[in-house]
């Protein structure tokens, strides 16, 4: 009895309630996206949320050392699937999905999480001397570089960069010496032109469009233009539920996936968008605080990485629909329609809840 009360007390309630609120908002947005109907999106999203919740509970109830032990395995499996993808996957122009019966599984999404947890385990096991030594970063480069490269050649520029940034955030938080950081940044700057020359035409076009959206009214620029019109015409309070003319008349592309934030903005205005952002802030803060409270380095780094990963999703998505960033195709966590991204976020939150329940553990407990 006491055990249950204690458990309930230690649960990160703010995180869980916020996540639930986002799922509700997302379902309503999808209901509106299909012009006021539960099918095809809203009902399936609810089903996925239910599956995600179960996943979250299973991961949260696991003993933390299991997570620690499973982390390399997880990364290894993720990399293997990414390697196998070109042979078993589908997708138009790019091979990004595996068809599993009725579901499309996008392995690059859970790969982001696997990289973060894998790196957290490796870096949390380093002694302070090792942290200072360059040689101990060789495995880091492999653990980060291989999945990054695999996603990049799919090709999926946006996801691969988000994966890279998430991993680098963990490395940064783990205390990599400043001199390595500076060297790394210079190397990246030098490599950029080479990378640019390796990009596919449509990827270059997207970046060019981002720099000058009006030059390309029909392509990606058209999407951004319509998205801005939808957001802007929403005003302070929006046009009302199911009343968004941009979304309902199909001016807004992809309104159920990448542009769902725009639809919320058109129908609920600045107030609606701000509410969604505040709920995200609550989640990010809750994850970060869990990390700061945690006494073992593994937990701290995992939380740090997950909070940064979630932040990247949100920032890239909102930045994209408001015209601040290029159109790279990033989902909005827990709201936009997409099974793999949603389950990945649930999995990540499960990991955070797990760590929140065991903040008093020490690094030595894992060995």
């Amino acid at each position: 009895m006491l055990g249950i009360l204690q458990l309930l007390y230690r649960l990160p309630w703010l995180l869980l309630i916020s996540a639930a609120a986002l799922v509700v908002i997302g379902t309503l947005a999808l209901y509106s996206a299909s012009e006021g109907a539960w099918s095809p999106w809203a009902e399936r999203q609810m089903l996925r949320a239910a599956i995600g919740t179960m996943l979250l509970i299973v991961v949260a109830m696991m003993p933390t050392p299991w997570l620690h032990r499973l982390s390399y395995w997880g990364l290894a499996v993720a990399v293997l699937i990414l390697i196998a993808l070109p042979f078993v996957g589908t997708g138009t122009g790019a091979t990004r999905w595996i068809e599993l019966g009725p579901f499309n599984f996008q392995p690059s999404e859970p790969a982001k999480l696997a990289v973060i947890i894998g790196l957290a385990r490796y870096l949390s096991g380093q002694t302070p001397e090792q942290v200072q030594s360059l040689i101990s970063y060789l495995p880091v480069m492999l653990m980060l570089g291989v999945p990054f490269g695999l996603v990049l050649i799919q090709p999926d520029l946006g996801t691969s960069f988000m994966l890279l940034m998430g991993g680098l955030a963990v490395v940064f938080a783990a205390g990599v010496p400043r001199r390595f950081l500076v060297t790394g940044a210079l190397a990246a700057a030098a490599a950029a032109p080479i990378l640019w020359s390796q990009l596919y035409d449509y990827q270059k076009a997207r970046i060019m469009t981002f720099l000058n959206p009006e030059a390309d009214v029909l392509g990606a620029g058209y999407q951004i233009t319509q998205s801005k019109i939808a957001l802007g015409s929403g005003g302070l309070f929006g046009k009302g539920f199911l009343q968004g003319s941009q979304s309902q008349l199909n001016y807004l592309p992809e309104k159920q996936t990448d542009f769902v934030f725009t639809m919320i903005g058109e129908e609920f205005g600045f107030v609606g968008n701000l509410t969604v952002l505040l709920i995200y802030f609550a989640i990010l803060a809750s994850v970060a605080l869990t990390g700061l409270r945690c006494q073992h380095r593994f937990g701290r780094l995992v939380c740090m990485g997950i909070s940064f990963m979630l932040f990247l999703y949100i920032f890239v998505n909102v930045g994209m629909v408001t015209g601040l960033l290029p159109v790279v195709g990033a989902p909005l966590p827990l709201i936009s329609y997409g099974g793999t991204a949603m389950l990945t976020v649930f999995l990540a939150l499960g990991v955070v809840v797990n760590i929140a329940l065991h903040t008093k553990m020490q690094d030595s407990d894992f060995y």
């Binding site: 938080a173 959206p213 009343q243 941009q246 970060a288």
Partner: protein
């Protein structure tokens, strides 16, 4: 000791870095909020205008619906151009007041305003709502004057579906009605085209995809400064395709009128005596349909409504339907715009069901017209020969039950040919029993009974041609021989539609091919008669063979000819100069009890309408070189020979004379 210190130091670095990352996120987050503020508050006005532009620049252009024409190109369904007034709810602050204001300029009933307000409430405000379609010239000019100050109003050219032949062809053309919620659920695009009309019955429903056509639209792309950049798509509206029917409107008119008059004297409704009778006689009033211009006077001088029933005429080579009548009928024009509740109730609750297309959905026992099927089955099975004679004493006792012949005193010794000529029931009781229900079923199906045709019209009925399996499956009990006896004269379980009876007759007349009925012809109206004849035989060749021996067919023809031409033929008074072969049928609607039979059967005419016999007649002509098959049913009309045969005679005569065929 040193190690601990280093550990601690690393931990501090980590915390600091985590805070740095957090701070970085905070800055970027603030950037997003700032951007949202910029778009949604600072520049909102400009974007709202662009969004409005988007709405207005997307104009859907309605396609005119394809016409429906008869075989000679006569218009059965077409369009007339109308203007309609629409309102955009999102542009109007007070919808009620706006509508009130408009109602001073155009006729707008309070209940219409109610409906419009309901519609506004249930759909997004950025969708236009039709205020009134079919504006008169006067209304149009009044509104035009005021339109600059009438915020949110727009005019749109639209089409109204019209049926110039009205109720004469209503069951064939069917009707259209406005888009409803169910349509939109199935086809979401329709919500943007509220003035679309959807075919609900008949050809309008059957050929909906072809008739409707494709709407076009224009969309003007604007840039961030609201300047039109280019027309994104400009798609012409694609008018629906015309449908050419095999129907002959002129013959249809003749047949409709002929059927409605029956064998009685027609009295125009305007006559004072009729007006008086309509006031006094509640039943008569209820049975006379909307738009009926005449009533009838029966042999006892009573005023009665026009006859209800059906006529189908079919080309026996091509299966093309020339006439398809069902009376009473309705005015399909009433459905084109929103049907009033009162009109709907009147049609729906009318005791004679004017909305029912009797030709395909009316189920009737075929009665004695079924005897060709039984005779053919018996001859094929070899249980009788063409020479078999049976003694009719007026009744047939079987299983402790008496099955009566319609001729109480009996026909005496009757052979196969005479059994058709005089329609001897006892003969058929006995040969049906010998043949067995399964073989009768098989023959009936081959002749086109018991299944829906290839017409594809909605609500066409299959009818019932029973056999042993059917009874076991549907009723859960085994077939009894007594039921075979009753089926022998086309009663009991057997049910057919007028279309099926015409098809049966046409297949007997054709004799070689199992023709199927058709209503839509691919070609535009017929050209030269030579070409047509060529086409007719060509077409006949593509049907599967009928698979009934020519010997049997020839015998059926001969027997049916006797019905018209024999000294004792049941329809001997109703032959035509070109020579017709037919068969009468009189169907009991109510069982005659033993007591009634003993007391003497009440004359048909003295029974309540609903309890009178159905009168049936099927025929083909000319006898020597058959061209058309006809089936006539007069509901509760009396005997087939007196009520149905004369109608068939006149219609067939009309058809053949129109084709220039005389004796």
């Amino acid at each position: 000791m040193k190690k601990r210190k280093e550990q601690k130091e690393l931990s501090t670095i980590m915390t600091r870095r985590m805070l740095m990352l957090g701070a970085g996120q905070g800055v970027l987050g603030a950037l997003l909020v700032g951007r949202l503020y910029q778009l949604q508050i600072a520049q909102s006005e400009g974007y709202r205008r662009l969004s409005d532009n988007n709405q207005f620049d997307r104009r859907l252009v309605l396609a005119p619906r394809g016409r429906i024409l008869d075989r000679k190109g006569r218009l059965l369904a077409g369009n007339s151009e109308v203007f309609e007034l629409r309102m955009l709810p999102s542009r109007i602050s007070n919808h009620q007041a706006w509508l009130k204001r408009v109602s001073r300029l155009i006729t707008l009933k309070p209940e219409n305003i109610e409906t419009i307000l309901e519609k506004i409430a249930e759909q997004p405000k950025f969708l236009e709502v039709t205020v009134k379609s079919n504006l008169t010239q006067r209304e149009l000019s009044r509104l035009a004057v005021l339109s600059p100050v009438l915020e949110g109003a727009s005019f749109q050219k639209s089409y109204k579906r019209i049926y110039p032949q009205g109720w004469m062809t209503a069951h064939v053309t069917g009707y259209v009605s406005p888009v409803n919620k169910r349509d939109i659920d199935g086809e979401p695009d329709l919500r943007y085209l509220p003035e679309t009309r959807i075919g609900r019955t008949g050809i309008e429903h059957n050929m909906e995809p072809d008739l409707r056509g494709l709407f076009g639209f224009e969309r003007v792309e604007v840039n961030a400064r609201g300047k039109p950049v280019r027309v994104l798509r400009d798609q012409q509206a694609n008018p629906g395709e015309d449908a050419y029917l095999s129907l002959d409107a002129k013959a249809q008119f003749f047949a409709t009128d002929r059927l409605r008059r029956g064998r009685w004297q027609a009295v125009p409704v305007q006559m004072p005596e009729v007006q008086e009778a309509l006031l006094k006689n509640k039943e008569l009033r209820a049975h006379v349909s909307m738009g009926d211009d005449l009533v009838l006077k029966d042999e006892k001088g009573r005023l009665i409504p026009p006859e209800s029933g059906s006529v189908v005429v079919m080309d026996i080579e091509t299966g093309e339907i020339k006439v398809m009548v069902s009376t009473p009928s309705f005015d399909p024009n009433l459905f084109s715009n929103r049907l009033s509740v009162r009109d709907w109730q009147r049609m729906n609750e009318h005791p004679r069901t004017p909305l029912l297309n009797r030709a395909i959905s009316g189920l009737y026992p075929p009665g004695s017209t079924f005897k060709m099927v039984v005779l053919a089955a018996a001859l094929e099975a070899g249980v009788i020969s063409q020479k078999t004679r049976i003694d009719c004493s007026g009744a047939f006792e079987f299983g402790g039950q008496n099955f009566h012949c319609w001729l109480e005193r009996g026909h005496g010794l009757v052979n196969a040919e005479q059994s058709i000529e005089r329609s001897c029931d006892v003969y058929f009781y006995q040969i049906a029993l010998k043949t067995g229900i399964n073989r009768i079923h098989d023959m009936a199906r081959r002749l086109g009974l018991g299944d829906v045709s290839a017409l594809g019209l909605i609500s066409e009925k299959e009818g019932i041609i029973p056999n042993r399996d059917w009874k076991l499956e549907k009723r859960g009990v085994v077939w009894t021989p007594g039921e075979t006896v009753v089926a022998g004269i086309g009663q009991g379980f057997v049910l057919t539609t007028p279309l099926q009876l015409a098809l049966m007759t046409a297949r007997i007349a054709n004799g070689r091919s199992a023709i199927t009925p058709s209503l839509v012809t691919q070609q535009s109206p017929e050209r030269s008669p030579e070409r047509r004849t060529e086409k007719r035989t060509e077409k006949s060749a593509v049907f599967p063979p009928l698979d009934v021996s020519p010997d049997i067919i020839r015998f059926l023809h001969k027997s049916m000819r006797k019905v018209m031409a024999g000294g004792l033929g049941t329809a001997r008074k109703h032959d035509i100069e070109q020579g017709m072969a037919g068969k009468t049928g009189t169907v009991q609607v109510k069982r005659i009890t033993k007591e009634q039979r003993e007391k003497g059967i009440i004359d048909n005419i003295d029974r309540p309408w609903k309890e009178r016999d159905h009168a049936l007649f099927v025929a083909f002509a000319p006898y020597e070189k058959p061209r058309y098959a006809i089936s006539v049913i007069v509901e509760h009309g009396g005997s087939g020979s007196s009520a149905a045969a004369p109608i068939a005679r006149d219609i067939m005569d009309f058809m053949l004379k129109s084709d220039g065929i005389s004796a």
